[in-house]
């Protein structure tokens, strides 16, 4: 909980342009323009998906299937499907208070790490551990959570099938969830982030309507609300999205 709270504070401070009530819808065209501008040099991470993400493709770059009406989905990077090294390569790392000459000049045990993810402008940091090494990896996993919360990818509702990462975080009683999806993944599992991102994408596509999203996911509205409320950062992001559509927050 404390870590999540810290994370949200970090977001509020470092990503304020993305954090205003109307920001979520604005991020979308911004990302689109980024993706369009950078298209020629885009590295498609699909080629090096980690094993956990390799089985899914419904929201990933769609490769050669241009004829299937998947249109421009391929222009959206699947950041959460990237390996740590690939994601790190898109980041700037600075110490939290980076100042002065550093090196032998300085004794700084806090080892704060601050990662700035260039494509999205998202900043994640970690200061808790004694080792910069460990702080770097917690900052990276925090970055993954922030990307899940902040980066919205468009969904075509007409032929939408929820990706497996999303199915994995749904309660077992979901009627669209088959047995081979396995047990439910909770907020403490690193694989929760990709599912959370897909859930927010869907919620964004249905204009923040929990009952609409619940119908698509084979759940009761109450069950989906409980899932959203089970994680503080997910709840905050969902409510921000709902507020931007003029809806009341979930409690």
């Amino acid at each position: 909980m404390a870590a999540r709270a810290l994370l949200l504070r970090a977001t509020a401070r470092c990503c304020s342009p993305l954090h205003s009530p109307t920001a979520a819808p604005r991020l979308h065209p911004r990302l689109r323009s980024h993706a369009a501008a950078a298209a020629p040099q885009l590295r498609f991470p699909a080629l090096s998906f980690s094993a956990s993400a390799a089985s899914t493709s419904s929201h990933g770059p769609s490769g050669g299937d241009a004829g299937e009406g998947e249109d421009d989905k391929g222009a959206y990077e699947n950041y959460l499907g990237m390996s740590d090294d690939e994601l790190m390569a898109q980041c700037d790392m600075g110490t939290f208070k980076s100042s002065g000459p550093g090196g032998q000049h300085r004794n700084k045990r806090e080892s704060a790490v601050r990662l700035r993810h260039h494509p999205t402008g998202i900043v994640a940091q970690a200061v808790e551990d004694r080792s910069q090494h460990k702080n770097r990896s917690s900052a990276l996993s925090r970055l993954r959570t922030l990307i899940a919360l902040k980066v919205r990818r468009p969904i075509n509702l007409d032929n939408y099938t929820p990706p497996v990462e999303l199915l994995q975080i749904l309660p077992l009683k979901s009627t669209i969830r088959s047995k081979d999806v396995g047990s439910q993944i909770g907020p403490n599992n690193p694989k929760f982030s990709p599912g959370m991102q897909a859930l927010l994408d869907l919620l964004f596509a249905v204009e923040g309507s929990v009952s609409e999203a619940a119908k698509i996911l084979g759940l009761s509205t109450g069950a989906l609300s409980r899932l959203i409320l089970s994680d503080d950062s997910l709840r905050a992001a969902a409510n921000e999205l709902r507020a931007s559509k003029g809806l009341k927050p979930l409690r």
Partner: protein, 356 residues
């Protein structure tokens, strides 16, 4: 022990009567001790901290043989926290780490009422804490370690505390083709951090020769090599830079060094933790800070095998730019791909290249 817990809370401004042993340690050592904690006074002209700890074993490695009741420990925690000035909130974190390093891990299912087992008597911890907070003795010397990369590197007075920037050097070694089976030299190894981290990545044919002119450094490096069980990979030799490496001349796949590079004139302005307490031998790079770096460059071509790699840490931008330029013009026939490499704060911290 019990009498300690009953003592009133220590205040930074109202010294209370203390046992004589503490008084001795608390005696102001500098005329400037009253200056603001943030303005570094002139560094002491004597050598860094004389070995005050009777026991040279780093605190975190001593046996936990001192039982302390929970109440006494809680009282210590309160007294110690009360010494932390509002300007230095990070010291609360240090206090937590100090207690973690000084305590034996509680066995699972232990009686919560049982006394804690500490690695030093409580009054010694108290003295150590005061010297950290008031004398700005580096926290790493207090607990005797630094968490560096995935290692816990033992350190003590007289040896440079490894810096987070230097972690990158190990990654650069790992990026050299075939590094696993090469012979490497870590010159001025200090605590041995680089040597141990590199050794842990090596294959059966790989080896690290770690040199240092300081006797304390050699001792501490030995300890770290032992702690990580890389005795068969790291050979520590006492001596200055290339001196102890005559027999491996021309056979090295790589030379690594984080030599002293701070210009002498900058020493008085250093952060007190560094300037007052760390060994000048490991910091002072001479007039422009380049004395040792240039010496290292001179020795490179005869030490490295053809195609061999080198990386040095430097004082930053200007020094790195100078060295890149110097090596590429003066020895263009001996070296190639010489370049400066940024650290995580975007300072050109390293110079690396290959022997032709």
């Amino acid at each position: 022990m019990l009498s300690l817990s009953a003592r009133p809370i220590l205040s930074a401004f109202l010294p209370k009567p203390k046992p004589r042993r503490l008084l001795l340690l608390l005696r102001p050592r500098r005329s400037s001790a009253s200056a603001s904690a943030l303005t570094p006074p002139t560094p002491r002209t004597t050598t860094p901290d004389p070995p005050e700890d009777a026991d040279p074993t780093p605190l975190f490695l001593r046996p936990p043989t001192h039982p302390v009741p929970e109440a006494s420990l809680a009282a210590f925690r309160r007294r110690a926290a009360a010494l932390v000035p509002p300007s230095a909130p990070h010291l609360h974190r240090h206090l937590r780490w100090l207690l973690a390093d000084a305590s034996a891990p509680a066995p699972s299912g232990a009686d919560p009422a049982a006394p804690h087992l500490l690695r030093a008597p409580l009054d010694e911890l108290e003295a150590l804490w005061l010297r950290h907070v008031r004398d700005r003795r580096p926290f790493q010397y207090v607990v005797g370690n630094e968490h560096w990369k995935d290692l816990v590197v033992a350190v003590r007075d007289g040896v440079l505390i490894p810096r987070p920037e230097t972690e990158t050097v190990v990654d650069m070694v790992a990026a050299v083709e075939g590094f696993q089976d090469g012979w490497w030299a870590d010159l001025g190894t200090g605590s041995g951090a680089i040597a141990v981290a590199v050794a842990r990545m090596l294959g059966p044919g790989g080896r690290v020769f770690a040199t240092d002119v300081s006797e304390v450094a050699v001792e501490v490096a030995r300890l770290n090599v032992q702690r990580y069980g890389v005795q068969d990979k790291v050979e520590i030799r006492r001596g200055s830079w290339f001196e102890p490496l005559e027999d491996v001349k021309g056979k090295l796949m790589g030379v690594i060094s984080n030599p002293p590079y701070i210009p002498t004139d900058d020493l008085p302005g250093l952060q007190p933790e560094v300037g007052w307490h760390e060994p000048k031998l490991a910091l002072d790079g001479g007039k422009d800070g380049l004395d040792h770096l240039l010496h290292l460059c001179e020795g490179l071509s005869s030490a490295l095998m053809p195609g061999g790699f080198f990386v040095f840490e430097t004082n930053g931008n200007k020094q790195s730019e100078f060295l890149v330029d110097f090596i590429s013009t003066k020895w263009s026939s001996s070296f190639c791909d010489v370049e400066a490499v940024l650290d995580f704060a975007d300072i050109k911290r390293f110079v690396r290249g290959y022997r032709r």
